[in-house]
């Protein structure tokens, strides 16, 4: 009885993804053709785009858009957090106030709000502070108190706060109430429990829609043209209303919006990674990980 020869170690053979390679080649070819047709199509008038892309008025418009977006997002989300906490509180008055605010500012169109804040002097020509018994302490013409820029900021922040409130509320609702009970059992105060236990978990649910909202807000700011504020889109429109170079100037605005959206998306990715620590699926998220995931895998196929 000869002993059976020991089995040779099994050779690992990589799985071949022929279909993947084929579909990738086809997709890349289509993309290349599209880019090529855009670049070579004279109707896009790329030389007009190039001439205007970094012109002073367009850059001033970019600055205006960034300022409006930044201010409205920061203050809007701060207001949204307060509104969400009010809505989730046990105090029925706070709940009602928060609900009404959100209802009102989601109901009134952005354009109407902007017009109302900008033209508020048509409704209230003067703003003043008077205390019964002491008379008027201070009063000034409304238009000198609320500048066009302030009017835009007020309208954008009010609008943003209502939407942010719902996003934050969804995030908090998504965390199991048992988490807070457990925090109490460990001796944390309700506030500590909220800050250290609930919020970090809620953030993972809040971030994707919040990123969406911020990028949406970037383009919502374009309504300020009706109050003669020159944001990015309006700066482009002012040029083409004079020269009729409509499509190339809209391309200029689009390129800038794309650049800003890209930066915001990268920021969102990094913040999500920060809050994703400890969540198994996201723990390995890094640039290398992203690249690895994007490129064909080497080694054993999982």
């Amino acid at each position: 009885m000869a002993a059976e020869p020991a089995a040779a170690p099994l050779k690992v053979v990589r799985k071949r993804h022929y279909g993947r390679w084929c579909s990738a080649v086809v997709a890349l070819a289509v993309v290349a053709l599209m880019i090529n047709s855009m670049v070579r199509n004279p109707n896009f008038e790329w030389e007009v785009v190039a001439r205007n892309l970094t012109s002073d008025s367009i850059l001033a418009g970019v600055r205006m858009t960034i300022e409006l977006t930044f201010i409205s997002v920061v203050f809007g989300f701060a207001g949204g957090i307060v509104l969400a906490l009010m809505r989730l509180s046990a105090n029925p008055v706070l709940v009602a106030v928060s609900w009404t605010y959100t209802w009102l500012f989601r109901a009134v169109p952005m354009l109407v709000q902007l017009f109302l804040w900008y033209n508020i002097a048509a409704l209230y020509p003067r703003l003043g502070l008077s205390i019964p018994g002491l008379g008027e302490l201070w009063s000034a013409p409304t238009n000198s108190v609320i500048s066009p820029f302030s009017a835009a900021v007020i309208a954008l922040v009010m609008h943003q706060a209502a939407y942010a409130a719902e996003i934050v509320r969804a995030g908090i609702l998504g965390v199991n109430t048992g988490q807070l009970d457990a925090a109490r059992a460990l001796g944390l105060t309700p506030l500590q429990g909220f800050r250290r236990v609930v919020l970090p978990q809620a953030m993972r649910t809040i971030l994707p829609p919040a990123g969406n909202e911020v990028i949406g807000q970037l383009k919502t700011t374009a309504v300020v043209s009706v109050i003669a504020l020159q944001d990015l889109l309006y700066s482009a429109q002012i040029i083409y209303q004079r020269t009729y170079e409509v499509i190339p100037l809209l391309m200029v605005a689009t390129i800038w919006y794309m650049a800003m959206t890209t930066i915001l998306s990268i920021g969102q990715f990094m913040i999500e990674r920060h809050y994703g620590r400890g969540a198994a699926q996201q723990s390995a998220m890094s640039w290398q990980w992203l690249l690895r995931r994007a490129l064909p895998r080497r080694g054993v196929h999982r």
């Binding site: 017009f115 033209n119 048509a122 003669a228 002012i238 020269t243 409509v246």
Partner: protein, 303 residues
């Protein structure tokens, strides 16, 4: 299967909504009081495709009464641009089909893509624009105006030089703003303060900012602002009336369009038979009548 059927139903519904929405913007009804006969000689010079179709597509942006606007019923377009272009179409033996472009932004691309054969939207003729579109000049915008709040208590201004150091709003991209900017440069050259010019995307938003005291004055075509002042229920008055060098408003057509010449000749024939004059008198703007129908560079050369 039921899900599929429900999906199909929803899609059909959505598509029919699209179709009705589409129909509302194109072939908008109009109101005009001028009957014009067709001239076979002019029909003969039309491009074949248009003559066979029997209609002409016209784009407009109806937010500047009394030049072009929706009338009392909020459905029908009226104004001098409607009267002039409808008369031209009838003289050419064509039915005009008016389209609300939904804003100035769609007018020029609409001409380039052929969605509109012609466009009337208070289009000022200038040499930069002539590189992209054809024009037939039909009105001389040589009188500009300015609205102010009725409680501002200013006297009526008649000289552009009186605007130095003031804040005066204007409509973005218009010839009126170019006039203001040139005057502002003159102010600075004479050692006075410049003119501050907030730009508004359209006339309603600019006029509203005067009503609320945000902007002291808004500058633009005389007849339009006179109308705004009279429609403001006492809130606004005409605070300025300025005679400025000739500056022409045109009918826009696609670049090198075969329609440019027939439209120019039809306008000439309306000038000759007095219809053109009657239209301008109907809107009390006889001061801006052109004596001769011209197209493209000729409009600018004839100043």
């Amino acid at each position: 299967m039921t899900i599929l059927r429900r999906f199909a139903l929803t899609m059909t519904l959505a598509l029919s909504v699209c179709a009705t929405a589409q129909a509302q913007q194109s072939n908008v009804p109009i109101k005009t009081d001028f009957e014009v006969s067709a001239d076979p000689a002019l029909e003969a010079i039309l491009p074949d495709s248009i003559r066979q179709a029997g209609f002409i597509n016209i784009g407009t942006n109806p937010n500047t009464p009394p030049t072009v606007f929706y009338g009392e019923d909020n459905r029908s377009l009226e104004g001098r641009e409607i009267d002039v272009m409808t008369a031209i179409a009838h003289r050419l033996g064509l039915k005009p089909r008016w389209n609300d472009a939904g804003g100035f932004d769609n007018i020029i691309p609409g001409l380039s893509t052929g969605r509109y054969d012609a466009a009337l939207a208070n289009l000022d003729v200038n040499s930069v624009r002539l590189q992209r579109v054809d024009f037939v000049g039909y009105f001389n915008n040589n009188r500009l105006g300015m609205v102010v709040r009725s409680d501002a208590g200013d006297e009526l201004l008649t000289e552009l030089g009186q605007l130095c150091g003031r804040t005066v709003g204007g409509g973005s991209g218009t010839q009126n703003v170019a006039v203001l900017e040139q005057q502002s440069e003159r102010c600075v050259a004479e050692g006075k303060e410049k003119i501050d010019i907030p730009l508004f995307p359209d006339r309603p938003s600019g006029v509203q900012s005067v009503v609320s005291g945000r902007t002291p004055a808004f500058f633009g075509p005389y007849e339009g602002l006179k109308y705004q002042a009279s429609a403001s229920r006492g809130a606004l008055v005409l605070g300025g009336e300025f005679e400025v060098p000739p500056s022409f408003v045109g009918i826009g057509l696609g670049k090198d369009s075969e329609l440019t010449e027939p439209v120019r000749q039809a306008l000439q024939s309306l000038i000759d038979d007095g219809t053109y004059r009657r239209i301008l008198d109907r809107w009390e703007i006889g001061y801006g009548a052109v004596s001769e129908a011209k197209s493209n560079q000729e409009i600018l050369d004839g100043r």
